[in-house]
Amino acid sequence: MTPGIILFPGINRERDMAIALEASFGRKPRMLWHKDTDLTGVDLVVIPGGFSFGDYLRCGAMAAQSPIMRAVKDHADRGGYVLGVCNGFQILTEAGILPGALLRNVSLRFLSMDCHLRVERADTVFTNRYKQGQTFRAIMAHGDGNYFADDATLDRLEAENRVAFRYATQAGEITPAVNLNGSARSIAGVYSQNLRVLGLMPHPEDLVDPLMGGDDGKPLFDALAAA
């Protein structure tokens, strides 16, 4: 599987993502520019975090209109793999590739801290190195991570088992106290219907090396590298 990272103006976690991908894949990912329209040869499209176009409009709204996003949609429709983290998740929802939207954190403040994510299913190409129900540590760094969708959509996501991760205590309990951004049903990440597109707010790519405080995020990239 060949990964490629999309660069929108204002994206700033592309190097973090490249480090994480290289550590698992053993080679550098391809870098793609937002004005490109050809994804030939890329199996895994990765949209990293940052502030695309400054997020001066709704987060991700401008990037979702970029030339490359049509190609990403086609790639996803063909059953290609897509990973969007933080701003990348926001862009995927704005592009209609994933359901829901990311609103301002309920605290109305930027949140930069560790959190624990509970793995809701461990049988996807992204999570098969984790165990179902286990938690792992990831880093939140966002001002707009409050996942929102109408009840019908949330019910459908749950019925179709498309919730990827929820904010949890280290022991795996879902409580309001650890749902700091106020996400609906504590949802931190969701899948597309075919489970090949994943969007999540916290950053697994910043915890792939014990020197940087842990490697809880590495199994996600190892799983992709082995797919």
Binding site: P9, N12, I19, F51, G54, F110, S112, H203, V208, M212
Partner: protein, 733 residues
């Protein structure tokens, strides 16, 4: 219509009668409105350092590892592996009081530009903040705005904010300090400087368009505040971190080619200072045609173009044959790119607008004949050394400790850090609070940088010379305490009105102390910034020479932090005399702010630091924390909270009152966690370094020598309460 050019107009621009006379002599005629504007900003305190230059010269600035010292946009030091660290700290105090969010945000933006303009990719931001009393209704709004502004800008540009410091004191009620520091990395043979060269070469403007914001910001930053400062809000600039991010990427992409001859950001005094300084440093002339400057507003005058402090703009001198290459790179990043002039051989700056010459000034006198003042000084009166036996401890150790770790100056800063992205870049080894210095690794290498900011203003107020030395020594100590080799500092000198001899006396003494410490510790100053006139209604801030320190670790994995494993011995390095004067205990518990501050013994400082660093690098020391504000017990409590591991203290001081021993602030001290205390004590004795065993780590409580006990959970609760509670309180008015 522009007003008539008179001495009184010059005065309203901040020029004295004598300075205006000098302008007339240089020009040989009455200057135009635009020319007067150029003189006034170039000769402002902010741009000319006219009161401080004579003193700044005393600071040591050289060492074998210093590549560029003060005088460039930022300091440059060799950090090994063919790389250089480029760093500087700069104040944005006045704008941050008038408009906290934008003032702080543009402070971050400005210091980032100073660093990437030299060819460095910024890898870390820090900030040193001082605010007024929490009880002052305005303070909360300023703190909230400043923190949001720093986060809003730094998080968006994607440079991690990894460290800093915060103090509260009534002296900052009307004049908070926002000192922002950026550290970047470049190949040491790819450093970009600002001296223009090559007659006929194009002068290129890139970045954001120019608007009317920030006109005369540099002049505002060179005057005291009064009650009507709110009216100065239009002089505060507006930040655009997205454009800054594009500018970083575009400039670094262009810097990978051979197109750039010289480059400088447009900071204070905008187009004026960048063009005057670049041409002046290169001993050439410069010709600008303002009709080509990208403008955000219509109908701007030459004066407004030259004095605008619109953000996210850079000026470059390019090789003429690389113009298209550069144009293409900036087009790719959707940034304005305009040729607005040429380098000439006239030695003058000539500014045209609508076909008219609006300014024509000889550069040499504009730079060389800038005013330089040796202002009168008065020494700060010496304070008595306090006798701890004469002060009553009404609280005891446990209550004293809980009070101290909960006070605004020592409480947890998590509320602040949690709003700053400290991990973007994926190289943050020690995040804020995890160690005495932040540690950021270099991508793809083992090498890491250690970074800190330090100053203890209450020491500086009591004795500016000791305080200046202490600020440098503490920065050095914080780098050593993680295992780093300290290399150099940047200084941000924040003082009151230099026309008052008492203030200039503080400045001169602080420089003297800093110079002594820099020399003794081989820790030169490579960049800096001076902010004077930090007064409101005639009340000055505490003298605050904020120090930004940088050190290097050959292997980032060798660094230690505060977190200690259980069941280790805890050893105190350094002499404890129970120095209580100017301590936080004295202020917070006895309600007094008097006495001489703790003396700084630079010989001991160096010996103790080198001993500690050697122990960290050979693996003996598993955790380390310097002992500073609040003394030994506060340092121990901080280690317990950082690790979730308790400690039992068994030492009983003799001849010193308990409170003074445990909360006194003697310098050059560290607490180390080691497996073998007797072994370490023997080594210390052989090296002639005072050391004593304090106790053992382990359990879930901190057990004090008087038998008192407090759980880590209770410590954390007391430590964590202030910021969230304060911010949640609704103001009465």
């Amino acid at each position: 219509m522009q007003p008539a050019i008179t001495e009184s107009l010059a005065k309203s621009f901040g020029l004295s009668a004598e300075e205006y006379g000098r302008v007339l002599a240089i020009m040989g005629r009455t200057p135009t409105f635009t020319e007067l504007g150029i003189f006034s900003v170039m000769w402002s305190e902010h741009c000319s350092y006219k009161s401080s230059r004579v003193w700044l010269k005393q600071l040591p600035t050289k060492a074998p590892w210093v590549i560029h010292g003060p005088g460039e946009n930022a300091g440059v030091v060799d950090i090994g592996d063919g790389l250089a660290a480029i760093f500087k700290m700069e104040s944005h105090n006045h704008p941050s009081f008038i408009e906290p969010y934008q003032g702080a945000a543009t402070g971050v933006g400005g210091i980032l530009r100073d660093v990437f303009t030299m060819g460095a990719r910024p890898i870390a931001n820090l900030n040193a903040l001082r605010f007024g009393r929490p009880e002052n209704a305005r303070t909360k709004r300023v703190v909230d705005g400043v923190v949001r502004g720093i986060g809003g800008y730094g998080n968006c540009v994607g440079v991690p904010t990894v460290g800093g410091e915060i103090n509260f004191h009534p002296a900052y009620d009307g004049n908070p300090l926002v000192n922002a520091m950026t550290v970047g990395i470049a190949h040491k043979d790819r450093i970009f400087l600002s001296a223009a060269a090559g007659i006929g070469n194009p002068v290129v403007y890139v970045g954001s368009k120019t608007g009317r914001d920030g006109i005369h910001g540099a002049t505002m930053a060179s005057a005291e505040f009064s009650a009507d400062s709110e009216e100065k809000r239009p002089t505060v600039q507006i930040g655009d971190p997205f454009t800054e991010k594009l500018l970083i990427e575009a400039c670094l992409e262009l810097m990978a080619t051979d197109a750039i001859i010289a480059i400088q950001d447009m900071g204070a005094a905008g187009l004026t200072s960048s063009s005057v300084e670049m041409a002046g440093k290169g001993n050439v002339g410069i010709e600008l045609d303002l009709d080509h400057v990208p403008a955000r507003e219509t109908g701007m005058s030459a004066y407004e173009f030259m004095l605008s402090e619109s953000q996210e703009r850079m000026l470059m001198i390019l090789r003429p044959d690389r113009e298209q290459l550069a144009r293409d790179i900036f087009a790719k990043w959707d940034l304005d790119f305009a040729i607005i002039g040429r380098i000439t051989d006239t030695g003058r700056i000539t500014v045209r607008h609508h076909g008219q010459i609006e300014a024509d000034i000889p550069l040499a006198p504009l730079n060389d004949q800038a005013p330089l003042y040796t202002r009168p000084i008065v020494d700060t009166p010496r304070q008595e050394k306090l006798n701890p036996a004469r002060i009553e401890d009404r609280l005891g150790l446990v209550k004293g400790l809980v009070t101290l770790i909960g006070c605004p100056d020592l409480c947890s800063r998590a509320w602040v850090w949690d709003q700053y992205d400290s991990t973007v870049g994926g190289q943050t080894v020690k995040r804020p609070g995890a160690a005495d210095a932040a540690i950021v690794k270099l991508d793809g290498l083992k090498r890491a940088l250690a970074l800190t900011t330090d100053c203890t203003p209450r020491y500086c107020q009591a004795d500016p010379e000791t305080g200046g030395a202490q600020a440098v020594a503490e920065a050095w100590r914080n780098l050593v305490a993680v295992g780093a080799l300290p290399l150099a500092i940047t200084d941000n000198m924040n003082f009151g009105n230099p026309e008052k001899p008492e203030i200039m006396g503080q400045f001169a003494a602080a420089i003297r102390g800093m110079a002594a410490a820099c020399t003794a510790l081989d820790f030169p100053v490579v960049s800096g910034n001076v902010s004077l006139y930090n007064e409101t209604e005639g009340r000055a801030i505490l003298p605050t020479p904020a120090i930004g320190g940088l050190g290097v670790l050959e292997d980032g994995a060798a660094a230690v932090g505060l977190a200690m494993p259980p069941w280790l011995d805890l050893v105190l390095i350094g002499q404890t005399t129970g120095w209580i004067g100017q301590s936080l205990w004295l202020r917070e518990i006895a309600g007094r702010e008097d006495g001489a501050p703790p003396p700084v013994d630079l010989k001991a400082e160096r010996a103790h630091g080198e001993f500690v660093r050697a122990g960290i690098l050979n693996g003996t020391v598993r955790a380390c924390h310097d002992v500073s504000d609040g003394g030994i017990l506060v340092a121990l409590a901080e280690m317990c909270m950082a690790s979730g591991v308790g400690a039992r203290v068994v030492t009983h001081p003799r001849d010193i009152p308990g409170y003074a021993f445990w909360f006194g602030e003697d310098q050059a001290r560290y607490i180390l966690a080691v497996a073998d205390a007797p072994g370490l004590l023997r080594q210390a004795e052989a090296a002639g370094i005072p050391a004593m065993r304090l106790g053992t780590s382990g359990g879930h409580d901190l057990t004090l020598p008087d038998g008192g006990t407090i759980s880590i959970a209770d410590l954390r609760a007391a430590h964590g309460r202030f910021f969230p509670t304060w911010m949640a309180e609704k103001d009465a008015n």
